[in-house]
Subunit: 433 residues, 2 copies
């Protein structure tokens, strides 16, 4: 592939911002450019310097828009694209009434393929270039997911949900089949192109101890893989879990017992944690994944960010579609700001945009690959327009700083603020895959 | 004006729904139409019947979209269109740091006129056809607001903010000038065309007892006018208020002392109410106005709907731009659902859409004029498209009931879901006024 250059304002984070004045946490080129070579970032910086490095490369001019690494969504459910906006239930009822019936349809490869493609197009329309997804319990759903990702050139993480109890026939596997299917899918997909497999026991309620042991075996056999599950989203969920695992000291202890904690382990929600659980997550480098639109929509509770930060727990942020109500990491940041505001905390916009780019890449252990625009990383890029709607343009008239622009983008922005999305250096077009 | 007919699915509420199964609370015509004559609804019902009543009237076909009364926003700040998305402050700091400086610009009639026009266009783009707005303290802002409303044919309510202390020079009036200016503006605007004036002491903190007495005088002299103010939004606000009015039993008692309670009185927020305050509001027919995007954004607190319903307090719902983060009543309902979900409460979609149409009309005492599509009422109409975005269309594939469609609209919808807005029977076009 020939070299190419994208020109515009370029923002990339170097470290987690320590507040809204932390100029050292990011690099920002007002007249910047990104040089793309073979799907990777070859260089980024001042436009004059970049153009001098490749004077013959064609330049796509995105000025005055703002370019940054594509967004990363650390927790989402592919088979729930038609579950969003289901009314009136908290977690456990919501799963039984809406989610499990919808997921049962993914035994059909044609349905799985159609939804997986639409799902990834929605992510791209919203500027997300990497996501960590739960597929359904059917291997066909994982094939559909990674095939659709491959067709779009995406670095996607995901896996087959393991669930062998407390769910209906159409989505229930067995301890053995979940192990066998996961093994086959790992062999088929992990490391193929940009695909990364995640071992995915749904949560303790839907796994027998026998299945948890199988998940442990998978983690032991594949220590390089991510492991994802759910933790302490809802009070009834916690009570039910503890009734199923009466010897556990607490919810996290169920996973701990089966060796599922560690730096590649992603725990969705992690809202209602005890001090012991928090300390155990911090000690093992486990990741808590904050899902604000979902936590509000399902009435699950408020996330204690300061508590987690103080105790050193690694943190990611995610949409959690379909419990979450938007594919947009901008909308997710807006809700995250609000959830934290109710606790008297301020999520500053630098930290917010660090979080959905480099922060989530670090939480996934992938900051050497995505999320930074550093030379040699993959050229997944989002182009943002802070004047995308009349309401945004009216507000933008009085904006003077980068931080104000970022806060406008997260507070009023949605998919219309995504002027372009690039995947491994190629511009995504709706319907193009 | 010649008769005209709008055809599509037509929904109008007859009473407050008593839950998601309350079929008696609304009328719904799957193949419906609305006959418009002289800016009023002449009839609505089955399309065949309506067309038979006016066989020569031109028909605008909005099928398969859903028509209902235009949305009503019961609390919004016109001069804050450029304050939305201001970062990191709770109420009192937010006023001093962002809001008062922005409002000071409205002493300039040209600025006021430009923003008032843009503001009303945003409301219309989002399907809102009536709003109750705070203007700035400058009479020029009220002139600009009602002139822009008149140019668009809108029924708008609003008034000059009265504020004679605890605010900077550029926005501060005096007790006497606030009375004189309000009197002049009432004489100039109230009842002119569709304009309705609202007596508008900002809140107790920014009014001296002398100014509160002037507000009381205005209410006594104009008992037909609305009175709007703020109440118990934030703990610091409550403490500051009680320090300024040490004889008051509680925050509401300040307003009660000056005779400001009653069925035309609109109290924004009303989050942190004591039992006494709640009972006093119920006894006087005063209206509590729920502003969920604002309450979350400013970290003010959660609204206790059940408490208010049980005690019989009349309730309205509103955006509160610019403390609120969206002009959209759809986004507002989504946030309202979430705020209530955190309390374990379920706002059902029938009640939600009743609330933003007939419910708010009833709260304003205007249900004989707007919000119902009943014959003789004003033909303010919104046309909704539940498939307006790819994410909505994907979700809509599995929707079977009207309630599911409404919930999809409020959960995923924004201004793109507003297929058309009619004001007094005329279709609004961006930039048309």
């Amino acid at each position: 592939m020939p070299d190419k250059i994208l020109r515009g304002r370029v923002l990339r984070f170097l470290s987690e911002p320590q507040g809204i004045e932390d100029r050292a946490s990011y690099a920002y080129d007002e007249d910047g450019a990104i040089l793309i070579r073979d799907g990777l970032v070859a260089a980024s910086g001042a436009a004059a310097d970049i153009i001098a490095q490749a004077p013959d490369a064609p330049v796509t001019d995105h000025r005055p828009h703002l370019m940054m690494p594509g967004f990363i969504d650390a927790h989402i459910h592919m088979p729930q694209a038609q579950v969003i906006a289901s009314w009136g239930a908290q977690l456990l009822d919501w799963l039984n009434t809406y989610t499990f019936p919808a997921e049962s349809k993914f035994s059909d490869p044609a349905h799985a393929a159609r939804i997986a493609g639409a799902f990834l197009d929605e992510l791209l329309r919203h500027g997300t270039t990497t996501a960590v997804a739960y597929c359904s319990s059917h291997p066909a759903s994982v094939d559909a997911y990674f095939e659709a990702a491959e067709a779009r050139g995406l670095r996607m993480i995901g896996g087959k949900v393991m669930m062998d109890r407390n769910c209906p026939d159409g989505v229930r596997d067995t301890a053995q089949s979940s192990y066998d299917d996961s093994k086959a899918l790992i062999a088929k997909w992990h490391g193929k192109g940009r695909a990364l497999y995640a071992i995915t026991p749904r949560f303790a309620i839907t796994s027998t101890p026998e299945q948890m042991a199988m998940a442990q075996a998978l983690v032991v056999e594949h220590p390089d893989l991510h492991m994802q599950t759910h933790l302490s989203e809802n009070r009834d969920e916690i009570d039910f879990t503890l009734s199923l695992y009466p010897k556990a000291r607490d919810y996290l202890d169920v996973y701990e017992t089966y060796g599922l904690l560690g730096p590649k382990s992603l725990f969705g929600h992690a809202i209602h944690l005890s001090d012991r659980e928090t300390a155990a997550m911090a000690a093992t480098g486990s990741v808590a994944v904050f899902c604000p639109t979902s936590n509000l929509f399902l009435g699950s509770g408020l996330y204690d960010k300061i508590g987690l930060r103080e105790t050193g727990v690694r943190r990611a942020v995610a949409t959690d579609v379909g419990g979450g109500t938007s594919y947009s990491m901008l909308r997710t940041l807006d809700e995250g700001y609000k959830v934290l505001a109710l606790r008297g905390q301020k999520l500053d916009p630098l930290t917010a945009f660090w979080w959905v780019t480099r922060g989530n890449a670090e939480a996934l252990g992938l900051a050497d690959t995505i999320g930074t625009l550093a030379p040699g990383t993959e050229a997944d890029i989002v182009v943002l327009d802070a004047r995308a709607t009349p309401a945004m343009a009216l507000r933008a008239e009085t904006i003077e700083t980068l931080a104000e622009e970022l806060f406008l983008l997260e507070t009023l922005g949605d998919d219309r603020a995504i002027a372009a999305t690039y995947v491994a250096g190629e511009r995504w077009q709706p319907g193009g895959a």
